[in-house]
Chain length 224, copies 2
DNA sequence: ACCAAATCGTATGCTTTCCGAAAGGACACG
DNA sequence: CGTGTCCTTTCGGAAAGCATACGATTTGGT
């Protein structure tokens, strides 16, 4: 899940970004409206969190631009004021939400999940299960056949991605985009290495391998 | 949820009222005991926050009046003094609480929610138990395997937070937000230090460690 | 009111753990 | 059989976490 945060206050920005990363999202950040617009147009985000008060292109204008260009990602608006401005109300579609500062992070997270659920029409499960492989998103635990596996952050995200696409191949580019910052261009074989590391933990001591390579395309997770 | 604040110090009063409003409560304010009494008798509040030192009718007398008229709303008493006065103790019912100034806003909010939960007959456990670890919310005592542990206020809160989320990781940002005030400057390692201190008391002399680190995310409490 | 003790945020090094980079071998496919 | 893709291992810098020390502030007792 990729989230764009458009917020100029460095303190709040850092705070929110840090929290979202810890919650397992891929997060990009813009500290003004113009950069925000460019990013949204160039990368596929699942959600945007936009402050109203921005230098240059304001939050409202930004949203207006997006809507007029038919970019329909759900938006959470951050505002310092308590009451909902009419202009804000006008811009918000059904898939949007509104929060006043200060807010509790837990509340922000709840709303994010609600919005994503609504916009994708999918009930977000707390655990992913593929055959004997179980990944618990809440406790961040991974088990294969009763055995607990200690994955690190990146490996965990990769496995999550693979499990959400059981049977469907996931391309290397896809993995790159989902797990690393958008403008990260590795000249190296990071993805290969990551897959290798994940395999060592998931497949190595099992006869039935679950991660398969599709040459020239990417990888698939298959239940044996 | 309607809350009445009876407080004559304008600075503290504004501070608390603002915070409560932002937390989503409807707040009324009286700056002396007599007005406080009239308001309580004329409007149905879910909770009252009453300062002890008041001009005119004092906080204690106000509570006494309320109780003798069978107005049974839960009360949070604010006092400048550290020790619990006997007269206060006598007036407090089960549904009341007590705080000394200065206090952390976050703590006030926690107590408000606890009180409202209690008074609305949602069962609120008085003690949290995770395996051999017992935390008593009322007496504020913590024991692990019969052994009594002396925790600081912050350590206590942290342990409470962890115990309420057994098995679920609690992110550092979450801890910051819950134990300190909103967007407290996270440039330091307060959380690390606090966790370290708590560990020394909870885990240090035990073989089964209960607090585990999840790199890049936060901490979990696990029963061994 | 004063002093000792306790508390708690900050600063600072140390240790551990990640994870990207690189390189060479293995394998698949034409 | 040759080329290109993929796998695996190793290495080192960087980051995250841990522990300790210090000092400002608060607390509590005389």
């Amino acid at each position: 899940m990729r989230i764009l945060v458009v917020e100029d206050d460095p303190k709040i920005g850092r705070f929110v970004i840090e929290a979202l990363k810890q919650a397992g999202f891929a997060v990009d950040h813009a500290d003004n409206g113009d950069d925000g617009l460019h990013l949204t147009l160039s990368a596929p985000y699942d959600l945007a969190i936009i402050d109203i008060m921005l230098p240059g292109l304001g939050g409202l204008e930004l949203i207006g631009e997006l809507r007029s260009r038919k970019v329909m990602i759900p938006v959470i608006i951050l505002s310092a004021r308590r009451s909902v401005d009419d202009r804000i109300a006008g811009l918000l579609r059904g898939g949007d939400d509104y929060m006043t500062k200060p807010f509790y992070l837990s509340e922000l997270l709840v709303r994010i999940h609600a919005l994503i659920r609504r916009s994708t029409n999918v009930v977000e499960p707390t655990r992913l299960i593929v055959n004997e492989l179980v990944l618990d998103l809440q406790s961040r635990e991974v088990r294969r056949g009763g055995q607990n596996l200690a994955l690190q952050a990146r490996e965990f995200s990769l496995l999550e991605l693979l499990m959400r696409n059981v049977g469907r191949p996931v391309s290397k580019t896809m993995i790159l985009e989902r797990l690393w910052d958008y403008n990260f261009d590795p000249q190296t074989n990071v993805v290969d290495v990551l897959v290798c590391r994940l395999r060592n933990k998931i497949d190595h001591e099992f006869t039935n391998k679950m991660i398969h390579t599709i040459r020239g395309v990417g990888y698939v997770l298959k239940s044996p």
